[in-house]
């Protein structure tokens, strides 16, 4: 196994994912095999190649003027929220 259970637990925490006791060994095995698989890249001679920034040569991220282009649709968007009160998203208490 190229990844230990502790490492996978740490990754799951960083990714904010709860993983059950039963699932954990499956992830340790499969993530280890994926990491081994992609480790093949280490053998590639990438020399002085610059890492790709855009798949189309010569194209860069387009910018736009910092102008208002959207109207307020909060009520509409909040219809998809699990819990809303007075236009605010409700989560468990953060500050005691």
């Amino acid at each position: 196994m190229s990844l230990t259970r502790q490492e996978v637990e740490k990754i799951a925490h960083l990714a904010r994912l709860s993983i059950s006791e039963q699932e954990m060994p499956v992830y340790v095995t499969s993530l280890s095999s994926i990491v081994d698989f992609v480790a093949e890249l280490a053998r590639a001679d990438t020399g002085s190649v610059a890492p790709m920034a855009h798949p189309l040569e010569g194209l860069h991220q387009r910018l736009r003027a910092d102008a208002v282009s959207e109207t307020d649709q909060r009520e509409r968007y909040q219809q998809n929220a699990p819990s809303v009160q007075a236009g605010l998203y409700v989560v468990p208490r953060v500050i005691e």
Binding site: S18, Y27, S30, V49, Q61, R76
Partner: protein
């Protein structure tokens, strides 16, 4: 039968008022009702919505308006946001999500007079090659319902192959249009990165995602792509290049066309697959094309490169699902961390969690250079090799998949075996190139696909070659038994 007609033939019937869009829509809704229970190709059928759009199309036709897609039904992959209609992306996470706006693709096809019959099943968040990771259960292949249709756009492919709609939309991040098109015996095109707007498409890997079309011929795919393609200011990677008239070049003779055969694609390819490709090459040669051998030495690194880049982007894109603003929330969270972790842990399926964790790992401190940066360098090398190849040839040709459709359950427990399904399709995504798959024969009674890859923005050339092949052959006319 209506469902066996091409988009062009249906548009003629509608134009001559020999059939109305409402009648056509009823016909396809009837087929969905009859066949979908056995295929599970749709997550949501939108019959009422469709009949309203059909009535509106009939009104436009009545007023004398004509258009190649006006009044013609379609199915959208459930990754495209549809205003007021559930957009689940195949996930429990978005099972309750009603999109508050339309994707650009949805908007454009509606403006062209398209009639949406429903939303197609797919691998969860488009992560999968068999449509088995869907929260809504696997899609069955209409050629053999004990087999997968491919993925991630498996529902769109199965629905088009089973004639539940004349065409369907899909997205392709690593082969998710071309691989299912091959396994279900239809034509599927993934355009150049930036050709079709990604606005309103649930994001998976933003530097690879591209929307495209499933149809039963290259000519039909050309008609649909024409309506979908073009600049959109709402997608920051949309390219501001004019869209050529794809139909205008479909009939261009292939005399002198240089087709490159990728040596790396034939290395270890099964003999029966090689024979199908050879037969297709003979057709292309008889049409005047020349074939040249080319080699892309770094192409074998495509799959490992992809499985670093795509999960990295996925882990970042999917961080938005927090159980707070929309989507699934766990029951009675004890604190905010518990809310995040359990909402995500319960809302995402196993493969999505695996990819998020892979991405989190390759981006984490100490590993970024070794994995992510290294992969982006390999990606540049592969892209440069494609570019060099296209200075010598007009198109590249090869298989779409190593094998025909495999049995449901055969690969789902082994991620690496599943990932290797996309060995021939991933290269085009990494380099942002247009790719098309079309049927070229069968193995054990199951359809096989032939892949054409073109230079950036050469969709017209790809469609031209595919159309000429289809004029000379009849593989694309074959229908799965029971769905003709």
């Amino acid at each position: 039968m209506l469902h066996d007609l091409s988009i062009g033939a249906l548009a003629d019937l509608l134009g001559r008022r020999e059939v109305s869009s409402v009648e056509l829509t009823h016909h396809f809704l009837g087929r969905i009702e009859r066949h979908n229970p056995g295929l599970n190709a749709l997550i949501t059928a939108t019959g009422e919505h469709a009949l309203r759009e059909a009535a509106a199309a009939d009104l436009r036709l009545q007023r004398g308006e004509r258009g190649p897609l006006l009044g013609i039904p379609l199915i959208h992959k459930d990754i495209f946001c549809t205003d007021g209609v559930r957009t689940s992306c195949g996930s429990r996470m978005l099972d309750n999500f009603i999109a508050p706006y339309d994707a650009t693709v949805v908007e454009r096809l509606r403006a062209a007079g398209g009639v949406m019959l429903g939303k197609a099943n797919m691998d969860e968040f488009a992560m999968g090659s068999s449509n088995e990771t869907s929260y809504y259960g696997p899609v069955k292949n209409p050629w053999d319902t004990s087999r997968v249709p491919g993925g991630s756009s498996g529902g769109s492919a199965a629905a088009t192959a089973a004639r539940l709609a004349p065409y369907a939309t899909g997205t392709d991040t690593g082969g998710s249009i071309r691989q299912p098109a091959a396994l279900t015996g239809i034509t599927g095109i993934k355009p150049t990165y930036g050709r079709v707007s990604r606005y309103g498409i649930v994001a998976f890997a933003s530097s690879l995602d591209q929307a495209g079309v499933f149809a039963r011929s290259a000519a039909d795919a050309a008609t649909v792509l024409q309506a979908m393609a073009g600049f959109d200011a709402r997608d920051s990677t949309s390219v501001d290049e004019p869209v050529p008239d794809y139909h205008a070049t479909l009939e261009t003779p292939l005399k002198g066309l240089k087709i490159g055969l990728l040596a790396e694609f034939f290395d270890g390819l099964e003999a029966r697959n090689v024979a199908l490709i050879e037969a297709a090459l003979a057709v292309f040669r008889s049409l005047g094309a020349e074939t040249v051998e080319v080699s892309l030495p770094h192409l074998p690194l495509s799959v490992p490169t992809y499985y670093v880049v795509a999960p990295a982007e996925c882990s970042s894109n999917l961080s938005r699902y927090d159980g707070v603003r929309f989507g699934y929330r766990c029951d009675s969270p004890k604190d905010l961390m518990d809310l995040y972790k359990r909402s995500r842990g319960e809302g995402f399926g196993a493969e999505v969690k695996r990819r998020i964790m892979t991405g989190t790992y390759v981006l984490s401190a100490g590993y970024f250079d070794a994995y992510y940066l290294k992969a982006q360098k390999a990606r540049q090398l592969i892209t440069d090799e494609f570019r060099t190849a296209f200075t010598r040839v007009d198109l590249l040709l090869g298989p779409t998949t190593p094998t025909p459709a495999f049995a449901l359950g055969a690969k789902i427990d082994d991620p690496i075996t599943m990932y290797l399904n996309d060995i021939y399709t991933i290269g085009a995504n990494l380099a942002g190139l247009p790719g098309l798959s079309m049927p070229c024969g069968s193995i054990d009674g199951l359809p096989m696909g032939l892949q054409l890859i073109g230079p950036h923005f050469a969709e017209g050339r790809v469609l031209n070659a595919a159309h000429q092949f289809q004029q000379a052959t009849d593989w694309h006319l074959q229908a799965p038994r029971g769905y003709a």
